[in-house]
Amino acid sequence: MTVADETTAQAEIGRPRRRKEDARLITGRTKWTDNLQLAGMLHIACVRSPFAHATITAIDVEEAKQAPNVVAVLTGQDVKDIQGSLPNAWPIVADQKAPPHPAIAVDRVAFAGEVVAVVIARTPRAARDAAELVDVDYDELPAVLDLKKAAADEVIAHPDLGTNISAHFELHSHEIGTGGNVEDAIRDAEVVFEREYRQQRLIPAFMEPRSVVVDPTGEQFVMWSSTQVPHILRLMLALTLGVPESKLRIIAPDVGGGFGGKLQVTPEEVITFLAARHTGRPVKWTETRSESLLAAHHGRDQWQRLTLAAKKDGTMLGLKVELLADMGAYLGLVTSGVPILGANMFNAIYKIPSYTFICDNVFTNKTWTDAYRGAGRPEATFAIERLVSDFAAHIGMDPMEVRKKNWIAHEEFPYATVSGLEYDSGNYEAATARAEEMFGYAALREEQRRRREAGEKVLLGIGISTFTEACGLAPSRALGEANYGAGGWEHASIRMLPTGKIEVVTGSSAHGQGHETAWSQLVADKLGVPFEDVEVLHGDTQIAPRGMDTYGSRSLVVGGSAVLKAAQKVIEKAKPLAAHLLEANVDDIEFDKGQFTVKGTDTGVGIGDLALATFAAHNLPDMMEPSLDAEATFDPINLSFPHGTHLALVEVDTETGKVALTKYVAVDDIGNAVNPLIAEGQVHGGLVQGISQALWEEAVYDDEGTLVTGSFVDYTLPTAADTISFETDRTVTPATTNEMGAKGVGEAGTIASTPAIVNAVVDAVRHLGIDDIRMPLTPERVWKAIQSAGQEQQAATPATQQPHFGDAPNQDTPETDAAVSGAEVGGPDSMSPDTTPGDGAER
C-alpha cells in the first residue's frame, strides 16, 4: 500500500486538518518552560560583557552576595574546572581550529554579551538587582568585527589561536569525480561573469524567549528547556559536564518557535544546570528579549564571491564559489557546518559541468552564529539565483530563459549533480509553467515597460527564484562522511492501548510545526483507526528515549517515516494473532482499514480487538509475547529535494527608495503533502522570513562591537501588516526515498523568497545601471543606489558602449558604496550628538 494516495475516500493523509495543538498554543494555555513553578525554585540573572574583546582583570561579587535574597554568585573562576567546553559537533576539516567555549567566561571575553558572572537568588528581581552590583574590571583588547578584515588576520579574535581562520574547506568536482576542473572552464569560456554578494547577519527571533529550569531531584537532574533538540542536548550535556547521560532527563515542553535558534546547547543551559547542582535547588533562567537578541546565536553572515563560466548563448560551463563565513566568537553546535550545508547547493537546479566550492570559516568578536532557518541553503540559493538573473541581464537574455536553458529536465531524474548529490525526483518545468500562469508574466513585463517609458516614478520589478534545496538531514552514512558528529536517523514507537487507542512516541521534537496532527494522520491511515484515537508523545527523553529532534526540514520525511515503519511492525506483529483467533493461516491474513480479514472471506477482526486480546493475553498463539507494541528507527537513503518556482512583483518608489511587494506567487513541489494546510502554513511563514531578510532584518554592530539592533525597535521584524496575501500552489512530484513520497517543507519558503525579492528590486532599476543593492533593501539603500547610478552614468561611458553591466563600477562593493555606508557604520558613533539617547531616551 502506498499511503501517499491522496484520493482515497476518507483518507487522513492529504486532508487539510486544522492542528490539534492550535487551541492550547494560540491561547497560551499550555506549559511553556517559564510557566513552570517548582517549590523552592531559585532564579538566575546573568552579568554580561559590554565589551567585544577584553581581559577580565577582576570580578568583585561581594556586594552582590550580600544583597537581599541572593543565594550564590558564580564566576568563571568558580566553575572553570567543571563547566567543560560547549560542544561543536561538526569539525568540517581535521585541523579545524576553535577556542575553548566556556559557559561563563573565565579570564577573557570574546564578544559583547558573553556571560561573566551569574547571580542566583530567591526571586527574579533579587537576582537582577544583585547582578547590577557585580563589579567587573576589564582591560579592553583590540576587537575584530569586519569579516573581510578578520579573514586577513590583522587583528585576532582569539590571540591564542594565532589566526581567525577556523577552517578552510574545499570541494572540487574534478577531485570527487563528478565533473571537470572549473579553472579550465573559466580559462576557456566565452563569458566569465563574476559577482560578489553579501549575506547579512540575522537574528532568529523566535516568539518564546529561551528558558531553562533544572530540578536536581535526588540522583537525577530534570531539565526543562525551550529547545528544539532535547535528545541532542542530553547527550551533549553528558559529554560536556561528565554527568552520566542516564542521570539526565530533558524535557522540551511546548516550545514557541526556534527557526534553528534553539538548535543549540547553550551556555545558559549549562549555567542553569551548574547553579542547580551548586545550590541543590530547582533553578530557572529565562532570558529577556534584549538578551535573546544579544546572546542567542545569530545566523547567516557571509561574503560570497561567485565566478560563472558560460557560453554567450547562456549555457553554463562552470561555477566557482568562494565564501567567507562569519562564525562569530565561538563555534556552537553546528556553527562550522552551516556554510558547508550549502556546499552542494550552489549548483542548484542547473546542469553545470564543473564546480568548485571554497570556504573559509572565520572568527570575529561578535555573537556566534549557527543554524538559522535553511542554514547554508538560503545562502547558496540566494547567490545562485541572484547570479543567474544578473548573468541573464549581462548577456541580454530573459532571466527565465537562462534558467530553462540550464536546468535539469524532468526526464533526466534521478540526476547526479556536479557537487556530488543525487536528486531523486523533480519537475522544474511543471512548477515554472504553473507559476508563470498564475503570475501573468508576459502582461506584467508589458506594464513594466510602459511605466518606464512613461517616466513614471513608481517602477515595477519582477523577481524569479527557481530554487531547490536539500533537506531531511540524513542519511547517517553521508553525515559520517561529512564529519558530522551524529547520525541522521529518527526513531518512533507505537503503543497499542487495550482500549484500542494508540500512543505514538516520536523522536522528532516539534516546536510549532504541528507534528501531533500530522503524525496522527499518518497513523490513522496506516492502522485504520480514527484520527482522534491517536495521541502523539514527544519532547521528553524519558517518554521518547531515542531521537534526533527537529531541524533541517527532517521531521516528516525522516521522523514520519519512522512512525510508519513502526506502524507496519505493529501490523506484522498482529497478523499471527489475527490468524490464531480467526483460525486461519497467517499467510491468508490481509490488513486493510483497521481490519484483519481472511483472504476471500468476510470474517475478520479489528486491530483494536487485537490490542485488547493482547492485553488480556488469555488466548495468544504459542510463543507470542503479549504485546503489539513496536518501535522502529528509520535512516533514509538520501536527502529530499523540494523545489519550486517563485515569482515576485515589487513596486519601487524611485522618489523615496521604498519597496512595496505587490504580488507573490509560490509554486512549490514538496511531493505528497500529508497535511496540505500545515504545509501551506510552513510556506507562508517561510516566505515572510525570507522576504524579511531581503527587505527588513539585519543585525548591526557599531565600531566598538556593540549590537546596535539590540531591541525590536531597531531589529525591524515584519508583522502581518507588512505582508501581502501570497498566491500559492503545488505541483506534485513524489520523492522516491520515503514511503509517503514527501519532501521537507519547513525551510523551502525562506530559502526561495529572498532572491526572488532582491531580483525583483534589481529588475525594477536595472535599466538605470544598477545591478545590486545590499540586503536588507532599506529605502535609503535603494534610493542612494538610484542616486549614485545616475551620477555614474553621467560620468562613465555611454551605456551602449559598455559591453556588460558587470564591468561597470559595481554597486555591490559595500565598503565604497554610498548606498550602504549609512547603515553599516551606523550606530551611536555616526549619530549626530543630539540623537544619542540619554536618560529616558529609550523608545
Binding site: 527574579p124 528581581r125 537582577r128 538587582d129 547590577e132 529577556t288 534584549s290 522618489e655 523615496t656 521604498k658 527587505l695 527588513w696 548591526v700 546596535v708 539592533t709 525597535v713 531597531d714 525591524t716 521584524l717 515584519p718 508583522t719 501588516a721 507588512d722 532599506t778 529605502p779 535609503e780 534610493w783 542612494k784 549609512g822 547603515a823 551606523g826 550606530g827 555616526s830 549619530m831 549626530s832 543630539d834 540623537t835 539617547p837 540619554g838 536618560d839 529616558g840 531616551a841 529609550e842 523608545r843
Partner: protein, 284 residues
Amino acid sequence: MIPAAFDYVAPTSVADALAALAEHGDDAKVLAGGQSLIPILRMRLNTPETVVDLGRIEELRGIREDGDAIVIGAMTPYADVLGSDLVREHLGLLYKAVAEVADPQIRRRGTIGGALVHADPAGDVGAPALALGAEFVITGQGGERTVPAEEFFRDLFETAVEDGELLTAVRFPRHTGWGSHYEKFVRVAHQWSIVAVAAAVRVEGGTIAEARVGLTNMGATPLRAKAVEEALVGKELTEDAVAEACAAAAEGTRPPTDLNGDSDYRRHLATVLTRRAVLAAAGG
C-alpha cells in the same frame, strides 16, 4: 527586564498628584500610559524612587469643546482621540496622525499627554500639535500656565514642563473644514516615524488659502515648516506649484542619522513627503 524597586502612588486629583511630586522631588516620575516609561524602567535606564500614576485622575481625561478650541485632557488615551467626533470634525490632522501611532494595543494605553511630555522627536503627535498651534496647559503647585506650542518643545526629550509640574490639558484651535494629511514614512508598519509630515490646508476656489506644515523627526524637536506654509499660500492646487512650494521643506533642519537613514536622506524624504502630504491634504 525587571525594573528596580520603586514606591507607587496613585492619587485621584491633580492637587494630590502635585503634592506627591513636591514631596518626592527629583526622585519621582510621573506615569501616564506607561508605553514609554515602563520600557525605560524595565531597561533600568531610569530608576525613580517613586512613581506617581496619573491613571486614576478623572479630571485629566476627556475631550471637550471650549469656545474656539477643542481641549483634550492629558490622560486621554489615543484610542479615545480616535473615537471622538469632535476630533474628527475639527482636528482632522490630529486624528490622522494619531491613527498612525504604533498599534492598537499601544493606542489603547498610550496618552496624548504622555506622548507630548515624552517629546520623542520621532513621536507622531508633536508635529500636528505644532502645526495646529496647540496650547499646553501646565499645572504646578503655583497654579496653571499656558504655553504655546512653539515654546513647549525645547530639545530632545525636553519640554516646558518643569520638575514638579504636570501637563494637564492641550487646547487645539478648531480647524474645521481644513483638509489634512499625515504622511508617515516607515520601513515596517509598527515602526516610529523615520520622517513624517503633518499638513493641514484650507483651500478656497482651487487655491490654497492657508497651510500648516509640521515635520516629525527632522531635528531634536518637532518642527514647523514656516517657509513652506508661506510659499503655499495663494498657490494653485497643481502638483507643480505645490512641489515648488515644498522644495524648501528641509531647509534649516538637522535631522538625525541612524539605521533607517542618514540626515541627507531624511532631508530628501522631508521634501518628497511634504509635497505628498500637502497634495493629499488638499485633495481630501
